[in-house]
Symmetry: C2
């Protein structure tokens, strides 16, 4: 089983020069500055970007509104001929008035204990300009909903799928040794919002992006982190230098060959995104290899379902003990391959050290 | 379903004074300093402690060793009459010689690609003092294993269960309104290793500990974090002040009532441990309520399996957008109750805001 897995590791080899920043590349021999980011979904980190993708080009004029199913639902008939159905309890729960919603925090104030889950609409009124729906509740509390707000939250499968896609960017590119490594300019990513957005979207899709043109010195990674959020501290420090060290507390800090691995398998929450900056290349060797673990796992599942089942169900002990930024003694149990409720591979925990 | 869930929230009420540090208590009205820790298992954070619990009082003298199953296994017969069986491939993979193992990092150097998974023992020798087992492999590589090292790693169900228990401390105390809140002295925890250990073990078991006697000023939380690791940075900053704020970016920063909730449900990896320090108590009100979500979920599962099934399988959208330590726009899908592969509740994601 292990040999089959190893054979499946479709290697993409390339040599680094000293002005490149590598993302999610396993550690090789060169002297790196390395760190990882705290933001689990940094591509959603900028409010500006999210606002942009949430803009809809739709006709939000309402033709009429009516109650259905004994006032348990509101049906909005749009001018374009489509309809949207909203549960009354959902509308009450999402009342946007200042008593029920804190707009500065974009958060609900209405307490769950004050929500009647059997609430029915007392009256529903379409405003004159047909751009707002006013609802009166049995206790005479009133809610006002903008047509655009309602349209964005349409419950149809199609509308929900569209909204989810815009929020979560589900597109993935799985790759083998034929990968053409996406490459962008470091300074452009730092200074152009368009480039930064393209970088993040590509990173989400492919899992790796090579940035070229960073200065040959420490600190560049910090700049990149601050560009989109902040670096996450670990017990190896805010950033760490991957180089040959005396009494190394990690195999990465030697000049030995490293096999493919994921970092920090001992963490309950390992890094989502890692930055590697090659500052000084060794004169010979120092080759880095990267592999798309999801691609390997998916092929492995097809080729050897039995072994795949073992790796997705057997817990393996991981240990990391030592002294660095602080002293640490971490212990965890992880499956080599984690799958979600649909059987999709969502995480790889693989480290030979 | 929601009402039933709300009714199940068995409230434990208590009033705070200004010199207490609260752990994992939802936010109320008082002015708090708050933060959370980065270490997912801080009770395992001190190497000293782990070393202590890993000490075995066992007879590790070996009577004899032999190979079994065509040299695919080694059987160690102990002086106390018990036996331990070790797969040959496992022994080869865990060779402790300097070529195969980096002792300064306590990590494997042997590469997976260099491991023959069908390896057989060529020869096995018990040393004169019967305290070490020497193995010669077909390529004449030799491995030496200490008796104590082998005994600790015995594969029997009983030995493994014991080792796992010592590493992971599985004991849990689920509680309702009858909880007698575990209380300890802040300064003692800071200065006595025994108290710190007791604090962490209690925290692991009960989920909440009240520390009294901290100074009435900011910075005490930082000390507590440094005592066992380091604080984890979030987009609300290294620590944050829970008080009534103008244009609050969170409902917690108002004087409104908060319902029961877990913090940061929008994070892929929410806080494991939270520190709350009550620095200034409001003159009236400011009551904090805590609930054992695991206890509630377990009772809920018994009383309404259908609703439990919905809450453990339906994904809910969480959003957090604003500006604080940095600007942020987070979006996530979580189940209200997460269960593991055995159906055990492992996480609650519940936030009304």
């Amino acid at each position: 089983m292990w040999m089959l897995l190893a054979k499946n590791l479709l290697r993409t080899k390339f040599y680094e020069d000293c002005s490149r920043i590598l993302l999610q590349i396993p550690k090789g021999r060169p002297s790196y500055q390395k760190c990882f980011l705290s933001i689990s979904k940094p591509w959603l980190h900028s409010a500006r970007i999210v606002q942009a993708v949430q803009t809809f080009n739709i006709d939000t004029a309402i033709q009429k509104v009516e109650t259905l199913e004994e006032k348990q639902f509101i049906c909005v008939h749009w001018e374009d001929g489509s309809e949207s159905l909203y549960p009354s309890v959902w509308l009450r729960d999402n009342c946007q008035c200042p008593d029920c919603f804190l707009h500065s925090a974009k958060a609900r104030k209405l307490l769950l204990e004050n929500l009647d889950i059997n609430v029915e609409v007392k009256d529903v009124i379409l405003t004159e300009q047909k751009k707002k729906v006013n609802i009166v509740w049995p206790d005479d509390h009133t809610s006002e909903f903008e047509a655009e707000w309602l349209k964005k939250r349409c419950f149809s499968d199609q509308a929900r799928a569209k909204a989810q896609e815009e929020l979560f960017l589900s597109e993935r590119q799985y790759w083998g040794s034929d990968l053409e490594l996406p490459t962008m300019d470091f300074e452009e990513v730092l200074h152009s919002d368009e480039s930064a957005y393209k970088w993040l979207v590509t990173l989400k899709k492919v899992g790796i992006v090579l940035l070229t043109g960073a200065a040959i010195k420490q600190g560049e990674i910090l700049k990149l982190g601050q560009r989109i959020g902040f670096l996450r501290l670990t017990f190896y420090g805010p950033t760490w230098q991957v180089q040959d060290k005396l009494d190394a507390n990690n195999v990465a800090y030697t000049n030995e060959k490293l096999s493919f691995h994921t970092d920090y398998p001992v963490l309950q929450f390992p890094p989502g995104i890692q930055f590697l900056h090659c500052i000084k290349q060794t004169s010979t060797g120092g080759e880095s290899e990267v592999v798309d673990g999801f691609h390997v796992a998916n092929r492995f599942k097809e080729q050897n379902p039995y072994a795949f089942k073992i790796l997705t169900s057997t817990f393996v002990d991981f240990t990391d003990i030592g002294v660095d930024y602080c002293d640490f003694a971490m212990q965890a149990k992880q499956r080599i391959i984690d799958v979600d409720e649909n059987g999709q591979v969502v995480r790889i925990n693989f480290n030979n050290a």
